[in-house]
């Protein structure tokens, strides 16, 4: 079976689903973050794949590059927030931090 666009897309879909799974199930905030990274990577794979197969030139790659930069920034901020949460609640378990309820 010749590797085509669909293959890449399936891989990215599965990777994305796993990211979602991580976000939904894990208690630790850092793991949630990792899930997000997975999702971003999945999206990036799509960008690059479309860039190659869709005839869009290099734009997809450039966007992917931007997404990486965003991810880096996001990771930095998010970790800083996690540290802060830790300082406040003495843990980083997302399910115990339900201040949004009230």
């Amino acid at each position: 079976m010749q590797v085509e666009l669909t293959h890449f897309l399936v891989v990215s879909t599965l990777l994305f689903s796993m990211g979602v799974f991580a976000i939904v199930t894990r208690k630790n905030a850092i793991l949630v973050l990792m899930g997000i990274e997975l999702m971003l990577n999945a999206a990036n794979i799509n960008f690059v794949a479309f860039s190659k197969f869709g005839g869009f030139g290099l734009s997809g790659q450039v966007i992917a590059l931007f997404v990486i930069i965003l991810a880096a920034a996001e990771a930095a901020i998010a970790l800083a927030i996690v540290l802060n949460i830790y300082k406040t609640f003495s843990n980083v378990n997302v399910d115990e931090i339900n201040n949004l309820k009230e």
Partner: protein, 690 residues
């Protein structure tokens, strides 16, 4: 300097005095001397004016006028403007002299009389503004300006009567004076309006010129008569004629020099002065009304004066009575005597009041003559001046009162003869009798006999010079020699033969008295302008003189018999004619009648209207508001329970749904993500491309 500028100066001098005293009165204690000095200057100037006018310009009137308000060309009545100005004729200068002289003497007198009063300079300021307003009345050449100054003297009278406003009776009297005068002024105002509406001018001479050419108000004699009577109403108020005389006796609450100046000599005579001014436009009917009012006034007040015990009240009623004489005199056409009596009365009545002031001063503000007696020894100067003035007012020969009063009585007799109105002379002579009686009652009870209140008597003492000099001056002026060389014939004197001329009336012949008709007139030299009337008056002269002498003698005799010789017991008379005595003592119950009718009626209607205002007019407003509130309450109820009820129902429904959905809200982000995922699935299902 022309006489005009001199008279303007003398007009404004007292006003300057008033202004200075009002503004600087507190700072300088002696500033009242400024006012007295100013009055002295005014007196000198008025003497100069009188001298020049009566010599150089004796037959020439001086007029100065300027446009006060210019209306330009108006659409309805064309060009018109309101002019103010002054007119100087013989009457003016005489009056100017009288006012300034008495005013100056009263100022002088007041220095001692008012000494120690807390509002001493204010008193002089008020006198200043009074003098100013009075001179304004005297000098004016138009009726509007006269009305304005008329009101201003009302103001100064109000202020001076209520000068001791701490006493309720004083402030009441001031208010009463002002309001009663206003009643008359309303009539005067309407009269002025009638004239102005027809002639578009306020100037006396222009109005008379129009009437003279047969231009009648609203083309009817009735309106001419009406305007005359209405303007006379102003005089009724100011000169305290019946039925508006009630304010004058009450006005005695003011300081006594004020009573002398304002309520005896000058201001109350302004009414007569007004009549003198409008004499030429009075129709026969109007004159008859005036004569009757004058006669009634003279009679009513003379009867009241008989029984009063307050020295000032007696004098007040005698003033009203004498003013009645003057008004009567105008009414019967004895123009010259009216003005002559005004002058003579001004002097002797001022003297009487100042004399009474001297007595009151000596008796420490005791005014009841029953507490006096025997003061002759203690107050000789006061006594003799008082006596001279009493003789004058009683119509005893050699004194001024005789000259003028005799003329009036002769005139009334002639008038009765010519027209058949005999009641007028009868009243006139009756009043002459009463006058002599009550004046001598006053003199005898006050100065003769034994002191009734020994303590007060012991403390009595003659007044200081500043008070006696005016007394002496005024008493001297009550002697015949200043007016005529012949004590029995006033017409021989310079006042009547040279200075005062009766002008010819301007009203159409149809509405004049027969004897005043223009064909009955014969030139300017006679006192009454009408030959027929002059003849009649000459015929009546001796009978009137003899009759009045006899009556005055009888009056004085009765007074002596009652109060000196004790031949007639006054107490017995009192009990015998108790109801009559009470009637007179209570002033014919006129005040009570006014209180019960007009004043109570006004207050009652004020209360009713106020009630009407609060409850009906405002009630309608508030009722409308209440109705509005009720409707809005109804709609509010509808809104709350029906319209809003529906809304609330949905809200409740939502709330219920929300409550049940609330369980989903865990606050955990992850749960939300699960929902997102599920929702995405659902969306994907719905929007699936296959």
């Amino acid at each position: 300097m022309s006489l005009i500028s001199l008279s303007i100066i003398t007009l404004f001098l007292p006003l300057i005095g008033f202004t200075v005293l009002i503004f600087f009165g507190k700072r300088f204690e002696k500033i009242y001397l400024f006012e007295v000095g100013i009055l002295f200057a005014a007196l000198i100037i008025s003497i100069l004016i009188a001298y020049f006018k009566l010599t150089a310009y004796i037959n020439q009137d001086l007029i100065f006028a300027f446009t006060w308000i210019d209306f330009g060309v108006t659409p309805l009545i064309g060009e018109f403007s309101i002019d103010l100005g002054i007119k100087i004729d013989n009457i003016t200068v005489l009056m100017l002299f009288v006012v300034n002289l008495i005013s100056f003497l009263v100022h002088l007198y007041s220095i001692e009389y008012m000494k120690g009063d807390i509002r001493f300079t204010r008193y002089f300021a008020y006198l200043g503004i009074f003098t100013f307003s009075m001179l304004g009345i005297v000098l004016t050449h138009n009726i509007l300006m006269m009305f304005m100054f008329w009101e201003l003297v009302g103001l100064s009278s109000y202020l001076l009567i209520g000068f001791w406003y701490e006493k309720d009776s004083a402030s009441d009297a001031g208010k009463k004076a002002f309001l009663v005068n206003r009643v008359g002024d309303i009539g005067m105002l309407i009269g002025i309006l009638i004239l102005f509406t027809n002639y578009h001018t306020f100037t006396f001479d222009e109005i008379y010129a129009q009437i003279a050419v047969g231009n009648l108000p609203f083309d009817s004699y009735a309106w001419l008569t009406a305007s005359g009577i209405l303007i006379f109403m102003g005089a009724v108020g100011k000169s305290a004629q019946f039925p508006l005389h009630v304010w004058l006796p009450d006005a005695m609450e003011g300081p006594t020099p004020v009573s002398a100046l304002i309520h005896a000599a000058t201001m109350v005579a302004a009414g007569v002065y007004l009549l003198v001014r409008i004499f030429v436009m009075l129709t026969a009917d109007a004159m008859l009304v005036i004569a009757v009012i004058g006669a009634i006034t003279a009679l009513v007040s003379a009867t009241i004066a008989l029984t009063q015990n307050d020295i000032k009240k007696v004098l007040a009623y005698s003033t009203v009575s004498q003013l009645g004489y003057m008004v009567l005199s105008i009414g019967i056409g004895a123009y010259a005597f009216a003005f002559f009596h005004l002058m003579t009365h001004a002097f002797f009545k001022a003297c009487l009041f100042l004399g009474s002031g001297s007595v009151i001063h000596a008796m420490h503000h005791e005014q009841d003559i029953r507490e006096m007696g025997g003061l002759k020894k203690k107050l000789p100067i006061t006594y003799y001046t008082f006596l001279i003035s009493s003789l004058a007012i009683s119509g005893v020969p050699l004194f001024s009162g005789f000259l003028s009063k005799d003329g009036i009585l002769a005139g009334s007799l002639a008038f009765g003869n010519l027209t058949g109105h005999w009641l007028l002379p009868i009243i006139g002579f009756t009043v002459a009798l009463m006058t002599a009686f009550y004046m001598f009652r006053l003199v005898l009870v006050t100065f003769h006999g034994k002191p009734r209140n020994q303590e007060k008597f012991d403390h009595a003492h003659e007044s200081p010079k500043a008070m006696t000099i005016p007394l002496i001056t005024l008493a001297a002026l009550s002697i015949f020699i200043f007016y005529t060389p012949n004590p029995f014939n006033s017409e021989a004197g310079w006042v009547l033969s040279d200075w005062i001329r009766t002008p010819e009336q301007v009203v159409p012949n149809e509405v004049r008295f027969d004897f005043m008709k223009s064909d009955a007139a014969t030139g300017q030299s006679e006192i009454t302008h009408s030959q027929m009337y002059t003849d009649a008056a000459h015929h009546a002269h001796y009978p009137a003189m003899i009759l009045s002498l006899v009556l005055a003698g009888i009056g004085i005799l009765i007074a002596f018999m009652m109060y000196v010789w004790g031949k007639i017991d006054s107490e017995k008379l009192k009990t015998k004619y108790n109801s009559l005595y009470k009637f007179s003592l209570n002033k014919w119950y006129i005040d009570e009648f006014y209180d019960a009718s007009f004043i109570a009626g006004t207050h009652k209607s004020a209360k009713i209207l106020a009630w009407f205002d609060y409850n009906v007019v405002d009630g309608i407003v508030n009722g409308t508001a209440a109705l509005g509130r009720f409707v809005s309450m109804l709609s509010g109820w509808f809104d709350t329970y029906v319209v809003d009820g529906l809304v609330n129902f949905f809200a409740l429904l939502n709330g219920f749904l929300g409550l049940s959905l609330r369980r989903i809200q865990t606050g955990k982000v992850q749960t939300y993500v699960v929902f997102v995922v599920f929702s995405l699935l659902v969306l994907m299902f719905f929007f699936r491309p296959f």
